[in-house]
């Protein structure tokens, strides 16, 4: 058990920045550039880890604790989901709430750290983040409810395992779930079209503006945390989308990692094709995601499981 957890976390730690690298490469390809190397996120994080921290005199311990807490929270969340042939090392009845709660915890600390700086820019970002994630969380839970109804389980890893049956009977519903979950994924990870991770114009940013005051290894933790978040939520999407469970371990392994790479490329394509939405259109998009999930739920309720 201990070894499994370590293996799981190790894989996540080692491979998650690679996902960002693939996205960057794809975007560069679509822009007609050669782009930064695939391992660039590792270099960035390594560089930051080697630097010292600068703290503003107005900040308190919260500002220093936030990066560590958020990184720890998302790392813990990764042990709740299966990855390819590897089963989830840790799971219990109702762990979907823990899963969502860990993300809420990470977000909470980032937000109060942003408020801790006393800067109006960061406060603005914090309020946007809070508002949008509020909307996203409802959608996430609706999706979980649908999956739980379909599988009659409240355990994240087993909910996903049962998908192979659900896809035959409830394919359209699961497509709705995937579509709305994909929008949640974009919001949670501050990707285009919700937010642009590359922008540094304070007025339009959501996530980036909150971490402007962090530096050194704190910033490295935050970047790492973001990469892991993308990895874990992406892994969940692949798990929902591809009903590969029950196949031989080697096939599962290949399907899962292939799925992750395709997901990263897909994200890169989405980001290349779309422009960032106007800020006031974001809630509309999330409401759309909510309605999609709601329709899925209604269909399940009408058809009965």
């Amino acid at each position: 058990m201990g070894f499994q957890i370590l293996l799981h976390i190790g894989i996540v730690i080692i491979l998650s920045p690679l996902l960002l690298g693939i996205i960057g490469k794809t975007k560069a390809f679509f822009a007609g550039r050669w782009g930064a190397p695939l391992l660039q996120p590792y270099y960035d994080i390594g560089k930051l880890l080697r630097k010292g921290n600068v703290y503003s005199t107005t900040t308190t311990w919260i500002f220093q604790a936030a990066p560590i807490v958020s990184l720890a929270a998302v790392l813990v969340s990764s042990i709740l989901i299966p990855m390819g042939g590897l089963k989830a090392p840790f799971s219990f009845w109702g762990d979907i709430i823990l899963f969502a709660g860990l993300y809420a915890l990470a977000r909470f600390f980032i937000i109060i750290a942003a408020l801790d700086t006393g800067s109006s820019f960061e406060g603005m970002g914090a309020s946007r983040e809070a508002a949008f994630s509020c909307l996203a969380e409802i959608v996430l839970f609706l999706d979980f409810i649908i999956l739980a109804l379909l599988s009659k389980k409240l355990i994240l890893s087993e909910m996903i395992m049962r998908n192979i049956l659900s896809w035959e009977l409830f394919g359209p519903v699961l497509l709705l779930v995937v579509a709305s979950y994909f929008l949640v994924l974009l919001t949670e990870n501050a990707r285009i079209p919700i937010d642009d991770p590359a922008t540094h114009l304070e007025l339009t940013m959501i996530h980036e503006v909150m971490v402007l005051d962090h530096s050194g290894w704190d910033l490295a933790y935050i970047l790492y945390g973001a990469a892991i978040k993308l990895f874990v939520l992406g892994a969940l999407l692949v798990n929902i989308l591809i009903p590969f469970h029950g196949l031989p371990a080697i096939v599962q392994f290949m399907v899962f990692w292939g799925g992750m790479i395709i997901l990263a490329i897909g994200l890169g394509i989405v980001e290349s094709c779309m422009a960032r939405l106007r800020l006031n259109r974001v809630p509309q998009l999330l409401t759309g995601a909510f309605v999609l999930a709601l329709v899925g739920l209604l269909i399940i309720l009408v058809k009965g499981v």
């Binding site: 509309q284 409401t287 759309g288 909510f290 309605v291 329709v295 269909i299 309720l301």
Partner: protein, 209 residues
């Protein structure tokens, strides 16, 4: 399975129309919705009758009516809904709520034909409600017509429940009436355009007590 996928696709188009504000996109989405709609008779009960329905629907709802709507807005310069009565996010939420109501109502009704998908009635109700919402909350004349047509699409789905029972003659009469209705609406929108220089019903507030 295919039928249900089609029905969910129809609802999805409805939701997207509700959240959209570009007139031309809305018309295109409506045409797409009608296209999926026109295939459903074949999915429910493949027969000559259903085939006729499909052909007529494709010609009227997918080709003629959208082009009529495009014709009606050909001179309109502002091609998006300017300011709806309630915001898009709220409209979407309200739409979601109304869909819940639609599903609730449908669960109280027993289907005449047990073999049919039990998604058909809720989908039809949802479309009627989405159409009604569009009609009530938007000011552009063309959006109101689109709302009316979404509503008609919902009614069409209800008619599919009776596919094997209603005589073709009456169905064709109904089609013709709806078509002429939209034709007249298109012409009046044209009049509104000429008279007021825009197809917004915000201008139409002179008559009141």
């Amino acid at each position: 399975m295919w039928l249900e996928s089609a029905l969910i696709l129809i609802i999805l188009f409805g939701i997207i129309i509700l959240g959209n504000n570009r007139l031309s996109t809305m018309i295109q989405l409506l045409a797409l919705q009608s296209l999926v709609l026109s295939i459903t008779p074949l999915l429910i009960h493949p027969s000559i009758h259903a085939f006729t329905m499909t052909i007529v629907t494709i010609v009227l709802k997918v080709i003629v009516m959208p082009s009529l709507l495009f014709w009606a807005i050909r001179h309109v310069s502002i091609r998006r809904e300017v300011q709806p009565l309630i915001g898009y996010g709220k409209t979407l939420l309200l739409g979601g709520f109304l869909m819940g109501v639609a599903f609730l109502i449908s669960s109280k009704l027993d289907l005449p034909d047990k073999g049919m998908s039990n998604l058909l009635v809720p989908t039809a109700f949802s479309l009627v409600m989405i159409g009604f919402l569009l009609l009530v909350t938007r000011f552009k004349a063309i959006t109101q017509v689109i709302g009316y047509l979404v509503m008609e699409n919902g009614i069409f789905l209800f008619a599919l429940l009776l596919l094997e029972k209603t005589p073709l003659l009456v169905e064709m009469g109904i089609f013709l009436d709806i078509f002429v209705g939209v034709l007249v609406m298109g012409i009046i929108i044209n009049h509104i355009n000429q008279e007021f220089g825009s197809a917004s019903t915000v201008n139409l507030t002179n008559l009141r007590d």
